[in-house]
């Protein structure tokens, strides 16, 4: 374990930026986004959630993977490649980092999505523990905590006093730690006391959060029974406007569309985020198996809370970040859905 003085953060960022593409949470016009070190906006290490989740780095909102030319009914394909240059994300939260593990289960299983893998392999992720978890946070329900270290984390940081405590997790993280050896300081036994007090404080704060006691155990598995609660689903979904915001801001939603963009005899094939909230998502030539919004809302929650866990050893496809609750214009709330399904069981 090392530590870095708050006064030295800028110097550390400069050193990282010399070697890697560095992304930091930056605030601009009230929005916090991961932006390049050089770009505009003020570094914001206080706001917990960026408006767009981490998934944009490994699964970009749109990505061209193929260029084509067509002439006289002959086709030429030109495959788009991905840079191998490493990039560093500084200050990502444990819930977002956990979402990468959930996406890995989809994109890295056979057949491997080579585009996702390339973006994933070149990422170096420095996590930042949440100092003050918010009342809308329910990461604890998914066994994630503000100080959690997930598999995808390369370095984890906890802020305490005048320092950030620096824990190198992986070989990739070691490269950054080496690079900053003149900036990082050794940790004393007094420091460890300060750090442990801070960890305990965060833990207590999490326990006090209103949603922390959310019990998911009871909605495990029983697919047909939960699916058949049509009256409950109608009530939960009746306000839905089908805007798709929940899926776009969700760090684990991964459904995508594949489209061709056409020019004259040439064009590009790209994939882009899509949403099971949209009526044309499952529309086919002979009709649509999901004809109303109730069915679409049910699909989204069933996928996150039942289908995904059934297929992935009980892991839920939700990390409790609360973005979907905050962004929903009509206050549809996954926490209410969970409570409703549990209570009605």
């Amino acid at each position: 374990m090392k530590k870095i003085s708050k006064n030295n953060l800028l110097l550390a960022w400069q050193k990282i930026d010399e070697k890697f593409d560095l992304f930091l949470p930056k605030s601009e016009n009230g929005n916090v986004k991961f932006k390049n070190f050089e770009e505009s906006g003020e570094v914001d290490l206080t706001t917990l959630k960026t408006s767009i989740p981490l998934k944009n780095f490994v699964f970009p909102q749109t990505e061209t993977f193929l260029k084509f030319k067509t002439k006289d009914k002959k086709i030429k394909f030109d495959i788009t490649s991905v840079s191998e240059d490493e990039y560093v994300i500084f200050g990502s939260r444990p819930c977002d980092i956990k979402s990468l593990e959930i996406l890995d289960n989809i994109f890295l299983r056979e057949p491997v999505d080579t585009y996702y893998k390339a973006h994933r392999d070149r990422a170096i992720i420095i996590s930042l523990a949440c100092k003050n978890p918010e009342s809308s946070c329910f990461c604890g329900a998914f066994e994630i905590e503000p100080t959690s270290v997930n598999k995808a984390t390369d370095i984890s940081l906890i802020e305490a006093g005048d320092f950030y405590y620096w824990n190198t997790i992986s070989e990739k993280g070691q490269k950054i730690t080496e690079l900053l050896k003149d900036v990082l300081e050794e940790v004393s036994s007094e420091d460890l006391v300060v750090l442990n007090i801070e960890k305990d404080r965060i833990k207590l704060e999490l326990e006090k959060l209103p949603l922390n006691s959310l019990d998911l155990e009871k909605i495990d598995g029983d697919l047909q029974e939960i699916f058949d609660k049509e009256k409950v689903w109608k009530e939960l979904s009746r306000r839905c406007l089908a805007c798709g915001s929940c899926t776009y801001v969700c760090p684990t939603c991964h459904c995508y569309d594949v489209k061709d963009y056409a020019g004259n005899n040439a064009g590009e094939r790209f994939r882009c985020w899509d949403s099971c909230m949209f009526s044309d998502f499952t529309l086919m030539a002979h009709g649509n198996p999901r004809t109303d919004q109730m069915q679409r809302v049910r699909q989204r929650f069933m996928h996150k809370l039942v289908y995904y866990p059934n297929n992935h050893e009980g892991t839920y496809s939700c990390v409790g970040c609360g973005r979907c609750i905050e962004k929903c214009p009509v206050h549809i709330d996954i926490v209410k859905v969970i409570k409703k399904l549990v209570v009605n069981k």
Binding site: L66, I79, D113, Q224, A262, P289, H303
Partner: protein, 279 residues
């Protein structure tokens, strides 16, 4: 630096060409597809699918209608019903398409061996069944009695006319029963919907049934088979949902815990009853 691993990405199609184009009905055409070197674009099993692209219109997934025993090509029988299929119908031998696959599971050929088989198809639903039927015909001694019930709206809509009128009925221990929805000129065969025809024919239940057709036909055929004593474990069918990737990632064909593109399209009917009713 940029890597070259993406050339093997499952979303990236290969170029293929049409060796042969045969108009089966006013809106169904069978395309024989080969690699630029004139070989089969990939190996597959009966029931599997291929994703065909025609840039800049996009991609669509189709079942393969030829049998793996026919080496050197794959065939798809495609109905005109959208932008991609409309364009495919303008293509001729020698034209190029993009192709990727094979996708999905397959009919359980090994389990069907030495058993009596009942194939029930409706309209373009004969396409995936033909792959199994031709497999069985090419290894005829390995399978028992074969009954094929096939129907379409009109006599002109019956696909693979040469197979249904000439090739299959001439095979040993094989019967073909054809039906059309309405009376028509030059039609002396049965008139009526496939589910009713199956019940009228009254097959003994010591068989495995393989069913494919429009969703409404499948639904009534399955009911009918149950009424005459077939158990769900004896019946296989295929499901269809919109697909974009073909290998269980894009999320479109998700029903319950399953993805039709990866865990299907072939399902044994007792598996289907465990799925939420959203297909």
């Amino acid at each position: 630096m940029a890597c070259t691993c993406h050339e093997k990405d499952p979303l990236v199609p290969k170029i293929a060409k049409l060796e042969f184009v045969r108009r089966d009905t006013p809106d169904v055409t069978t395309f024989r597809i080969v690699s630029p070197e004139g070989e089969a674009p990939f190996e597959f099993k009966p029931g599997q699918c291929a994703m065909i692209s025609v840039p800049p219109l996009g991609e669509a997934i189709f079942s393969i209608t030829s049998s793996p025993t026919e080496e050197g090509y794959i065939e798809c029988s495609i109905k005109k019903c959208g932008a991609v299929t409309d364009y495919l119908h303008t293509l001729e031998a020698g034209d190029e398409i993009g192709i990727r696959g094979p996708y999905g599971n397959n009919f359980p050929i090994e389990e069907l061996k030495n058993k009596d088989l009942l194939f029930i198809g409706g309209g373009i639903g004969l396409a995936p069944l033909r792959s199994v039927i031709n497999y069985v015909m090419d290894r005829r001694d390995e399978f028992g009695k074969v009954d094929i019930v096939y129907g379409a709206r009109t006599p002109e809509d019956l696909v693979h006319p040469n197979d249904i009128y000439n090739v299959w009925p001439a095979e040993k221990n094989t019967d073909v029963y054809l039906t059309v929805d309405r009376e028509a000129k030059n039609w002396n065969g049965n008139v009526g919907f496939v589910p009713n025809y199956v019940k009228e024919l009254g097959f003994d239940t010591n068989k495995v049934a393989l069913v494919c057709g429009p969703p409404i036909m499948i639904k009534y055929v399955l009911q009918g088979l149950e009424e005459i004593g077939f158990k769900k474990e004896q019946v296989y069918t295929t499901l269809e949902l919109k697909m974009k990737c073909g290998f269980g990632k894009c999320g479109r064909c998700n029903i319950g815990d399953k993805y039709v593109c990866k865990d299907g399209p072939v399902f044994r009917c007792d598996e289907i009853t465990e799925l939420p009713d959203e297909y």
